[in-house]
């Protein structure tokens, strides 16, 4: 699937660290200012969802943009994170914050176990393997009804931190926004670390990287684990925020949606992940006036973005702007 992308590293990745960090700073400022324009908590909810999904998208973006690996099963990790904060407090009396950490650790562990064999696969074969992995998790969530409530899902207890019950849409907006900025900064940092450089070498050419002494398998595994943790964190937030969770969170269509967020926003662009998430979370809200024609228009928008902004929204616009300046 990624043979063609391997031809060259997206231009955004070549930008220096400082520039990437300034982009994140801009996002942070926007996140702080924008609630002033929200007429109601509905807007807080939509914005919070954008940030939550953007967290998962950044993780997947690291995997796709830097390691050149696609995953069609990433919603599976969201499912692990989501069910961790649901099952932990409900069935085992584990506090939410600890369940959250256990979920992230469990996702990392699962990614570690399945990562090695799965990441040996290439392109489409990797895609189908990750797809199968995601489906396996979804089947477990549906069938282990005693723990998960089955297809109708289960209630997620309100997290309690130091005696303070976390609730309210505004609260979740701030949690999601701060976590996103934090996650984005971490990702930017990672890109400029030795691991990041090794990964970019893998992206350019696996064989060449190996010749230069990069432990390709290990580096891929590391990034796979990191991206799984991002997805898990997003899943936990989604579950705790919604207060109710169904296996739908880990379904195949969610995985595709995550990939779409990354690709539409721009592979390799952290701001792109946010824009991609915003697009796919907000479009169904904006398009409601179309009623029966909503799905058709949604499909056309996805196609249109890819046709006219081939590298994804953010990188394409950035390239167009710099061309004009030059």
């Amino acid at each position: 699937m990624l043979r063609h992308t391997a031809d060259r590293i997206p231009a955004v990745l070549r930008r220096p660290f400082v520039q990437r960090l300034s982009a994140i700073a801009v996002i942070a400022v926007i996140a702080i200012v924008i609630p002033a324009f929200f007429p109601s908590t509905y807007y807080y909810r939509v914005a919070a969802l954008v940030f939550v999904f953007a967290i998962a998208a950044i993780g997947l973006n690291l995997l796709m943009g830097f390691a050149g690996q696609v995953s069609l099963g990433h919603a599976g990790f969201m499912g692990i994170g989501a069910y961790a904060v649901a099952i932990g407090p409900t069935h085992f009396n584990i506090p939410s914050w600890l369940s959250f950490l256990i979920g992230a650790a469990l996702s990392a562990f699962v990614a570690f176990i399945v990562g090695r064999p799965i990441l040996r696969l290439k392109g489409h074969y990797l895609a189908v393997a990750t797809l199968g992995f995601g489906l396996l998790l979804a089947i477990v969530f549906v069938n282990e009804a005693r723990l998960t409530g089955g297809p109708d899902g289960m209630l997620v207890p309100r997290p309690v931190l130091f005696g303070w019950s976390v609730r309210g849409t505004e609260t979740w907006y701030w949690i999601a926004a701060i976590s996103f900025v934090f996650g984005a900064a971490l990702a930017a940092n990672l890109i400029d670390s030795p691991t990041g450089r090794a990964l970019r070498a893998i992206h350019d050419s696996e064989v060449a990287a190996r010749v230069l002494g990069v432990d390709v398998a290990k580096q891929k595994l590391v990034i796979f684990i990191i991206s799984a943790v991002y997805a898990s964190v997003a899943g936990s937030y989604l579950a705790a925020f919604n207060g109710h969770i169904t296996p739908d969170v880990s379904g195949f269509l969610r995985s595709i949606e995550l990939v779409a967020m990354v690709v539409l926003g721009g592979i390799g662009s952290i701001a792109g992940s946010l824009v991609g998430a915003a697009l796919l979370v907000m479009l169904p809200q904006v398009l409601t006036f179309l009623h029966d024609y909503e799905q058709m228009v949604l499909g056309l928008v996805v196609m249109g973005v890819m046709i006219f902004l081939r590298a994804g929204i953010v990188p394409s616009i950035a390239a167009a702007l710099s061309r004009r300046r030059a």
């Binding site: 926007i30 908590t41 009623h291 616009i317």
Partner: protein, 385 residues
């Protein structure tokens, strides 16, 4: 750099502003329905029904001097999306009442929002958890799975059959009903001797049915599912030449099942609302005029066979409208109180008698036991076998 992000932000804000509905002086009724996605055969007739009857009510001058405005959102069967729309109905559209929630998963997810906003919410989903425990603002119109199980078990007892095999879909409806049937079986004197299941979208269930066929002691088979699954199971049942009495659930809710299953559906029994046998009800049946009128209206306007799912939406809307009329206003608390006092309401699903402890108000008489003969529904009398 800065410019670029500001532009994106500006575009996002603009897009968000588009989402705001226009204000109106009318009474707004919200509806979150699974119009697309795997549960669209619920949401689609529900939406059509609500639109038809809201238009009809408005043509007659509205209720309490106000016209109704229906705000429908499609959740695609996804609880996360439904939650966002629920927030939007409460915060942006400022609805007075809510009729909807096609599936149990969606309903359970959005209940807290309407409870908190204190808005009357009539759900169209099946599971008993929606009204048990009773929640102040939440009601529902469809019969529960438990009632369907009990109705089937009662019919089995009349035929002196006590050992059954279950084959259920793993999607929400099938799974939920399976759980309820297993739970109430001992009380009804029924033993579930074997269980099988199949996934959504499966296209051949002969392995599962072969196992049931080979299981000694099975006297009857019950299939709990909706959608296309029951039609395929029924065909496979005939393909394998299984002769045991075969029961479907109330998830099989329209003529479409008979069309899809074809001759294989002969002899299949199922509990269903009176709506399916509108033309065969006795002339003194209280429900006859209501179900005949609804069936005629729906089939004429939509060009599709009537389904009990659409009927649930009709019942929900009418219970709400009747309550508002009795309340004499659209005050949310008053309307809620009147919904709870609904007595003797004749709907497509049965005769509804609600109370502070019963937010459904239907009993087993709401279900009719049907048998498919010569490609049509027939009523099984309660006394005979």
């Amino acid at each position: 750099m800065m410019q670029k992000y500001m532009k994106i932000a500006a575009a996002s804000i603009f897009a968000a502003c588009l989402a705001v509905g226009s204000a109106s002086a009318q009474v707004k009724i919200g509806a979150i329905l699974s119009v697309t996605g795997p549960a669209s055969f619920l949401g689609d007739p529900e939406k059509k029904t609500l639109e038809m009857y809201v238009a009809d009510i408005n043509a007659k001058g509205g209720v309490n001097g106000k016209k109704l405005e229906l705000v429908v959102y499609d959740d695609g069967g996804k609880p996360n999306e439904a939650l966002t729309f629920a927030k939007r109905l409460v915060d942006e559209d400022k609805i007075t009442a809510m009729v909807g929630g096609s599936t149990t998963g969606v309903t359970l997810a959005i209940i807290p929002i309407f409870e908190e906003a204190q808005i009357p919410f009539i759900s169209l989903a099946g599971a008993i958890q929606i009204i048990q425990p009773v929640r102040k603002w939440v009601f529902k119109t469809p019969h529960t799975d438990t009632m369907a199980c009990e109705k089937i078990f009662a019919d089995l007892k009349r035929r002196n059959l006590t050992k059954v095999a279950l084959i259920s879909g793993t999607a929400a409806f099938g799974k939920s009903m399976r759980d309820q049937c297993v739970a109430v079986a001992p009380k009804a004197g029924i033993t579930v001797v074997h269980e099988e299941s199949y996934g959504p979208g499966d296209t051949d269930m002969t392995p599962q049915l072969t196992n049931i066929k080979g299981k000694a002691g099975v006297q009857a088979v019950i299939n709990t599912d909706f959608g296309q699954g029951p039609a395929i199971v029924t065909r496979n049942y005939q393909q394998l030449g299984i002769k045991l009495p075969f029961y479907q659930s109330h998830g099989v809710a329209s003529k479409q099942y008979i069309n899809l299953a074809g001759p294989a559906a002969e002899g299949v029994r199922l509990p269903a609302a009176a709506l399916l046998v509108a033309d065969k009800l006795s002339a003194n049946d209280k429900q006859k005029p209501v179900v005949e009128a609804y069936k005629k209206t729906y089939e004429q306007k939509s060009g599709q066979p009537v389904s009990t799912f659409g009927g649930h939406a009709y019942d929900g809307l009418m219970i709400l409208v009747e309550a508002a009329k009795r309340a004499g206003s659209w005050d949310k608390a008053k309307v809620r109180d009147e919904i709870e006092k609904t007595k003797g309401f004749v709907g497509t699903g049965g005769i509804v008698n609600m109370s502070p402890t019963d937010h459904l108000g239907l009993d087993l008489t709401a279900f009719r036991m049907l048998e498919i003969k010569k490609g049509d529904w027939t009523l099984v009398s309660d006394s005979g076998s």
